[in-house]
């Protein structure tokens, strides 16, 4: 009986008809396509895109040039050249700060390593370019990304908390606005 039923199914192509019913149903399913350049998906918070250097709300940069990000970076993206504010040996800042984004793996370890929250990960991901050298970002470019991605800036720590560490101060007015 079972074999007869199986033969019957084969003669009538029942399996094929079931498959065709499935494909026909999908004709009316809404496409899951996102028409990329015209419409973009909503990124989740915590998306790890381009890395940005941040400033305080008075325009001075947060970075104190401690080199911890450079040490944390697994693919040696970051180069920091640290310098001290003249006459104030305890106050340091990053004279030069470069990121070679061609090597970056967007792991976020530099952001976690930063003691003063001077680095942030943005939701920018469209950085395709015709020239690889355009991805070798210097300090101004990184700060510009930060300005673009984080319009709300933090107040300086000593104004938030009068007793915060006094050395956590960058050279005032650098870079010139």
């Amino acid at each position: 009986m079972k074999r007869l039923k199986r033969l019957f199914q084969q003669i009538l192509f029942l399996e094929i008809l079931a498959g065709m019913a499935a494909t026909f149903k999908h004709l009316f399913v809404r496409p899951i396509t996102i028409q990329y350049p015209h419409e973009k998906r909503v990124l989740p918070n915590g998306y790890r895109g381009f890395i940005a250097l941040l400033r305080y709300d008075d325009g001075t940069d947060k970075c104190v040039g401690c080199d911890l990000c450079e040490a944390a970076c697994p693919s040696r993206v970051i180069t920091v050249i640290s310098a001290e504010v003249e006459g104030q040996p305890l106050k340091r800042y990053a004279r030069e700060y470069a990121m070679d984004m061609t090597r970056c793996v967007f792991c976020g370890l530099c952001v976690e390593a930063c003691p003063v929250n001077a680095l942030g990960m943005t939701k920018e991901y469209e950085y395709a370019t015709y020239d690889k050298r355009n991805l070798n970002l210097n300090k101004e470019q990184l700060l510009a990304i930060g300005d673009r991605a984080f319009p709300v800036r933090e107040t300086r720590v000593e104004f938030q908390h009068p007793h915060a560490a006094f050395f956590n101060v960058a050279k005032r007015g650098y870079p010139a606005k």
Partner: protein, 340 residues
Amino acid sequence: MIEMAQYLIVVLVTIGIVMVTVLLHVAYLTYFERKILGWMQDRMGPMEVGYHGLLQPIADGLKLFFKEDIVPAQANKVIFTLAPILVLVPALIGFAVIPFGRDTIQIFGLTFRPYVTDINIGILYILAFASIGAYGVLLGGWASNNKYSLLGGLRSAAQVISYELSLGLSIVGVLLLAGSLSLVKITEAQGGGMFHWFIIPQFVAFVIYLISAIAETNRLPFDLPEAESELVAGFFTEYSGMRFAFFFLAEYANMILVSCIATILFLGGWHAPFEALSFIPPILWFVGKVYLFLFFYIWIRGTLPRLRYDQLMMFGWKVMIPLALANILVTSVVLYFVKG
């Protein structure tokens, strides 16, 4: 003399109209196929060129025009050039005998018929030319000097020969019922509502015809001659530019041709299914039925995976041909007793 000139004008204009219409439909069939396949896979299909990708076939055609025309080293140049033509011409020439509609049109005192010609061996003529198309595939595969092309060509030859038998045999039942080989006469024999269509007495033949037609046009699930995942592109691996476009056009023109024949033989050609619906022009009925078949082919393509080669051969020789022969036997015996 004037009659001769009038005749020539009528024939040439009809040929021109039929060719242009068919080629346009071929171009938009690719769009149709990509859209439907896309929807079946929860995608959108072409969306960028024009409104919802409507200009995509034109863009594709222009692109193919500007592609480099490469002839591989050591290829047999004459046969390599001849093969695409040998494939395309038989695919297009079959449309000469397809009756697209019923009514003749009078313009400037000239009578235009909705078909180029009505010869009394119409269906035989189409079958004969369809077989010539196989030569193009075979020669193209051989002349390319490429193992994938050769394998594709060989497979195509074996497949076309196997399935042409069942295709031809499935038609015989219809011919017995209609009593003619002329496509116009076959269509006229099915007049008077959908219960006079040959799909009802010849349902087995209809199924055999559909399956063999898919195999004849080298489409999934019988696309072994051009199996992308094993043979690169089969017999047209080495073709590029307009020669590739010829193969492509031929494949889709063959699809339309095969659908036209199925419409005429089994679904009553231009006839409306009910008398009440005959206010819709016959030509629209014809086109609608043809597109029904084309949708079916695309639907099958979206559903089934490719057959293995031995499965293909076994199905062709051990299932289709005996079934088709049995169908002929039953049809002729029944006809003998009914018509007496």
